[in-house]
């Protein structure tokens, strides 16, 4: 470790000045204080603090009255939490599968040397600039049973037509999915397109010379070559899904029927800031952390495990 740092340290060209080690690069160290403070105090310190306090019975204010795993036992006995986890798993799997496949297919279409590429890209990506609140509210309006798609089709004469995902506990997650995909696939498409463009033109020429059909080149050659892009995309999308909150607040507020579309982030917020049951909020957020680590650690291991990065 110290050997690599030594080599990376910019060499001063003036004659060797005997200075104590810690004063070397002193401005750089001072400039990095905000980063160090953020990393240590907020990201590391804050996380540890919450994990530690999740073992207390804090209610209105944090207290150091440790009760072991009581909060976690209560958490996993609360039906609202169990529903939140199920919802998130379902939404997460569906969202990952659809954003990645749709994103990739769209990127392939965009990569066919088409005309008006910029126009198409602009249209597909603009929802990504909008907030989840705006996204949620627009789709809530489009899916409005009385005036939205259902209402329009019924007015055209098909009176038994039913398309009201947001008011049916069975389908509410699909409603969220329609809006979530609308917001996020453009972004994934751009990531994939950047990946496709990064592939050497010679690969394509070689495949053409060998007479491999285009679709087969994509499946057999291109996709395996884009493995890093896929993994990065999966990690970004997955860590976004675990945070899913605003969209649900805007579209359904967790309903219908009280908790048909609850998600963990909502549980955490409600227990921390509404129900004044901090211990539960801490325990729930610790579970969220755990789920992210399950996604993140294998990825970090795969990506940075062997080689030296940076």
């Amino acid at each position: 470790m110290s050997a690599t740092t030594e080599a990376a340290t910019p060499r001063t060209t003036s004659a060797a000045r005997p200075r104590p080690r810690w004063t070397r690069n002193i401005s750089a160290k001072i400039a990095a204080i905000p980063m160090i403070a953020t990393a240590l105090v907020i990201f590391l310190g804050g996380t540890i603090w919450t994990v530690v306090y999740s073992f207390t019975n804090s209610r209105l204010l944090p207290r150091t009255n440790f009760v072991g795993f009581d909060q976690y036992e209560r958490l996993w006995e609360t039906s609202r939490w169990l529903i939140s986890i199920q919802n998130l798993m379902f939404y997460g799997v569906m969202s990952l599968v659809f954003t990645v496949t749709m994103g990739f297919v769209l990127a392939v279409l965009m990569d066919q040397k088409i005309r008006f590429e910029d126009t198409f890209r602009t249209i597909m990506l603009y929802p990504f600039a909008l907030s989840f609140i705006v996204t949620g509210l627009v789709w809530q309006w489009i899916l409005n049973p009385q005036f939205g798609i259902q209402g329009v089709v019924r007015d055209m004469g098909w009176t038994s037509f039913t398309f009201d995902p947001l008011n049916n506990p069975q389908t509410v997650l699909y409603g969220l999915l329609i809006a979530g995909l609308w917001q996020g696939t453009g972004f994934v498409m751009c990531l994939m397109l950047a990946g496709l463009r990064g592939i050497d033109e010679d690969i394509w020429k070689a495949a053409r010379v060998d007479g491999i059909p285009t679709w087969k080149t994509y499946v057999v050659v291109i996709i395996p070559m884009m493995r890093p892009v896929f993994i990065t995309t999966l990690v970004i999308v997955a860590s976004g899904i675990i945070r899913l909150y605003d969209l649900v607040v805007a579209m359904t507020s967790g309903g219908p029927g009280g908790n048909a579309s609850q998600v963990p982030a909502m549980y955490v917020y409600d227990y921390m800031f509404q129900a004044q049951n901090l211990g539960q909020g801490f325990a729930a957020s610790t579970m969220m952390l755990l789920s992210v680590l399950i996604v993140l650690i294998p990825w970090a291991y795969l990506e940075f495990g062997g080689k030296k990065h940076g």
Partner: protein, 302 residues
């Protein structure tokens, strides 16, 4: 492309091939893209159309049809009269709150992150990579786990519930992605430049302001775009760290549209939604390709 050349190879050359624009493949390709674009454009269309109709027309008509009689009343009402709780001064309050939150947050976060990125590339010190790794991990950790400790820190500093508290929070959470962005960009600037400046006696800040800053204006624009849209669109931090008077636009919008009291005025709701989306949309359409380059560079190169 490959299909075309394949077909040509199969049938053999027969003189100059007439260029056909309307091949089956092209119809499929453009057809699919057009349908996809319809899905993407539909909400924007519906938003604009609904916001220009009067309430009777909204109740009678079709959400996809353009207004028979255009009215800007919903926009006026959304901007200046819509109620949240006891305040009835419309979304304008949230708009100005968002402006006051976004501007300092963007400046502060970009200033900190660009210096971080520069220090990480050119002035590595013992442990700098460790802090950077923690920072990157921090960007994936759910915010929920850090919400309460930050409440305590802000309360201790007397900033809880104030705009400046929220500005600090945005600067902190913008740091990982922006630092990554700047670090990657600075690493592409030839090291010889840095070494030459060192030989000429330039110090940490001298090199930053005279070489790095002027050479990396595009990445600053990218960072600006990312931060303006990101902070403007934030909801969670706004709810947690400010009080109702200071709520940013997104929070106020949600309170207006999803409030249970009163008759639902869908046209006003859509005008309000559009107003909230306007700032990031303008940023997006003006920045064009830089937006794309930004998100692609930030994500793929990491």
């Amino acid at each position: 492309m490959a299909d075309v050349s394949m077909a040509a190879a199969m049938t053999g050359p027969r003189g100059a091939k007439p260029k056909k624009r309307l091949t089956g493949r092209n119809i499929m390709l453009y057809g699919t893209l057009l349908v996809v674009c319809l899905y993407y454009l539909l909400p924007l269309w519906v938003m604009v159309m609904t916001s220009l109709k009067g309430m009777p027309e909204v109740r009678m008509g079709n959400i996809f049809s353009p207004p028979v009689e255009i009215t800007f009343q919903p926009w006026v009402k959304a901007w200046a009269e819509a109620c949240t709780g006891l305040n009835c001064d419309g979304l304008s309050r949230g708009f100005w709150n968002s402006v006051v939150i976004t501007v300092p947050s963007v400046i502060l976060s970009i200033a900190i992150a660009s210096v971080n990125g520069y220090a990480l590339i050119n002035w590595k010190f013992k442990g700098s990579d460790v802090f950077f790794t923690i920072l990157i991990f921090g960007s994936f950790i759910p915010y929920q786990i850090m919400l309460y400790p930050i409440v305590i820190l802000l309360r201790e500093a007397g900033l809880y519930g104030s705009l400046w508290g929220l500005v600090l929070v945005h600067s902190v959470f913008g740091m990982p992605i922006l630092t990554l962005l700047f670090r990657n960009y600075f690493s592409s600037i030839p090291e010889e430049l840095f070494k030459a400046a060192r030989v000429d006696g330039a110090g940490f800040w001298g090199i930053y302001f005279r070489i790095m800053l002027p050479m990396s204006l595009p990445i600053f624009v990218v960072a600006l775009i990312l931060q303006v849209t990101g902070i403007w669109n934030d909801f969670l931090f706004g709810v947690v760290y400010t009080k109702p008077d200071l709520y940013p636009m997104t929070v106020q919008l949600n309170n207006i549209v999803n409030s249970v009291q009163g008759v639902k005025e869908y046209n006003v709701n859509m005008a309000a939604t559009l107003l909230t989306g306007l700032v990031p949309l303008v940023v997006y359409f003006v920045s064009g390709k830089l937006f794309v380059r930004g998100i692609a560079a930030g994500a793929v190169k990491g």
